[in-house]
Symmetry: C2
Subunit: 332 residues, 2 copies
DNA sequence: ATGAAAGCGCTAACAG
DNA sequence: CTGTTAGCGCTTTCAT
């Protein structure tokens, strides 16, 4: 158990006041070179480490950011969450920010006091939490949710256009009976993808058939159920746009189990560009979203907000997606 | 920007001293019921939230734990890391501990001052970090690394027996030419799996052929290289035990690309029970390791250590693995 | 059971 | 450029 040495001992050893030591620690320019050297020497000798907690209390601010992820299984246990955690983890590391991981439930609201800023990974049934953070005045950036109604900065993905492009690709391939298996519509992303699907159809004068729209929740079982239902329709679709790669993969399994071929009988497009879809029975055509980039941008934006005391500037960033064409779709 | 109210305002409103308010907050029993009610009422009215930082400084301890993950790509971007983060995330949530995610690099040593305890997710080239935490006297538990030489508690997986069981299963199926593609041997887990492989062979009087042992690093490319080399051998093995499912999946791809069949020509066993192997061309037989359980156990162990000021008790837990038999191995 | 006073370890305002 | 003096907001002896 190493003895805790305080700034005072360092000061004594260096023959200066605690204040001067503090100045050295915080790299303030107003310290004579000679003194700085003495202090640094003393710090080294004593193996002094400033107590961060005391620093935070005195400075009244923290360089810790919280990443809150809805503790909604479908999202927390997903490719999405993984990417976000990785992206934010790496970004905060390089910005020298401490990262607090907070799995939000409906009640457990984040304690903003210990944190200098908050990053929301999507907003699903935890809007009150966002509100309370906003109200507390803590700097905040939300990801993947275009909170235009709220006074907060965000970095989101253009889900609507991504979905639209995917469906138009299918249409250009000659498909007209295109189904959609959605994600959980409580998430804005899922709703936007559904909307993009509809817009593509409308734009190309294809009737929107409610039977072709099946609600999933991002889970494999829900995709299985949805795909099975689609297969039982009188007129089976020739293509299906699925709101996640994971669900797309499951849909393909169902199709195959029913002795149909992908893309021979049914074309499939996913969403995510999850590496998992590289190793299936057929390379999945999908919509790639820049999750890591979104996470990195959000983190550095938050950092900027935290470090400038400037008046709140509303930054709203929307990142584009990219259609990745592999082998799961065919010309009709 | 909500006004920051302090304990003093609450005290005033309730007509008691700050001390009493503090007692109520900390649920000390020595407060009259009447006063407690008044204080609680005041807290509610003022929406008072104690300042955690000040609490920490005053109490001299923190209920934040750090999860340090080696920032070694092969591990950070793996199924392993995911499971650990999830396991620790959920466990710490329910224990009301704050979770700090720390990606350790060789230099960036964790600042133990702000943290009440530390969890290490494996030890790879960051042993000095462990040492420094240990030396600081901060409570600490390491996962997946049997640090018997160090004075620390740990929760690990019985990799050796897991590997041994997998290889013996292959032997019982009649295989004698069994190869191994290892993980990165700087990790103890990979070394143990290799050791288990060797022990199984020895126990069954099968010669250990160095040509059959290929060193991978948990990455897919390394597995590809290893499997290709194996296929070029004069006597190609009839079975291969691979140190991770991800690598096993890649090995299978290589085998298939060479017009051989799994398990027809070559049987394959993986390690992890990564869901990814459910959806490949063949269900992968694998060794399941209780990662989530390990994470949960480690977290609660750490919590116990942190909350009891008792003398250090050395707890060393080793969790068993389970062989999951699917379709990638055949009788010979 | 309760309050006054003294810190926890550091930073910030203000003189000098 | 440097030291002195107050705090940051809460907990904790120690009397009462």
């Amino acid at each position: 158990m190493a003895e805790k040495i305080r700034i005072e001992e360092v000061a004594k050893l260096a023959g200066v006041s605690p204040t001067t030591v503090s100045r050295v620690i915080n790299k303030l320019p107003t310290v004579q070179e000679a003194n700085r050297l003495k202090v640094e020497e003393a710090i080294r000798k004593l193996k002094f480490k400033p107590n961060v907690i005391a620093q935070r209390l005195a400075k009244g601010k923290s360089d810790t950011i919280a990443l809150v992820i809805p503790r909604y299984e479908g999202i927390f246990f997903s490719f999405y969450a993984n990417q976000i955690i990785r992206g934010v983890g790496v970004a905060s590391e390089s910005l020298k920010l401490d990262l607090l991981l907070h799995l939000s439930t409906e009640k457990s609201s984040l304690d903003t006091a210990s944190v200098g800023g908050v990053l929301f990974a999507d907003i699903i049934s935890n809007k009150e939490e966002l509100d309370s953070v906003l109200e507390s005045g803590t700097p905040c950036v939300v990801m993947n949710y275009k909170a235009d109604d709220l006074d907060t900065d965000y970095v989101a993905i253009d889900n609507k256009t991504g979905a639209k492009n995917a469906v138009e690709y299918l249409i250009h391939l000659g498909h007209r009976n295109i189904a959609h298996i959605s994600g959980n519509l409580v998430s804005q992303a899922a709703a936007d993808r559904l909307e993009g699907y509809k817009q593509a159809l409308e734009k190309n004068n294809i009737n929107i058939e409610e039977d072709f729209i099946k609600k999933g929740d991002y889970s494999r079982p829900s995709a299985r159920k949805a795909m099975s239902a689609l297969l039982k329709l009188n007129s089976v679709p020739t293509a299906v746009f699925v709101a996640s790669d994971d669900m797309a993969q499951e849909a393909i399994s169902v199709i195959l189990e029913n002795k149909l071929k992908v893309p021979g009988d049914i074309s499939v497009v996913g969403f995510d560009d999850n590496p998992i879809c590289l190793y299936g029975s057929v390379g999945l055509t999908t919509v790639k979203q820049p999750l890591i980039e979104m996470a990195a941008k959000a983190t550095s934006l938050l950092h900027k907000i935290m470090s400038t005391k400037a008046a709140k500037t509303s930054t709203k960033i929307i990142l584009p997606t990219e259609l990745i064409i592999r082998d799961s779709c065919r010309q009709i």
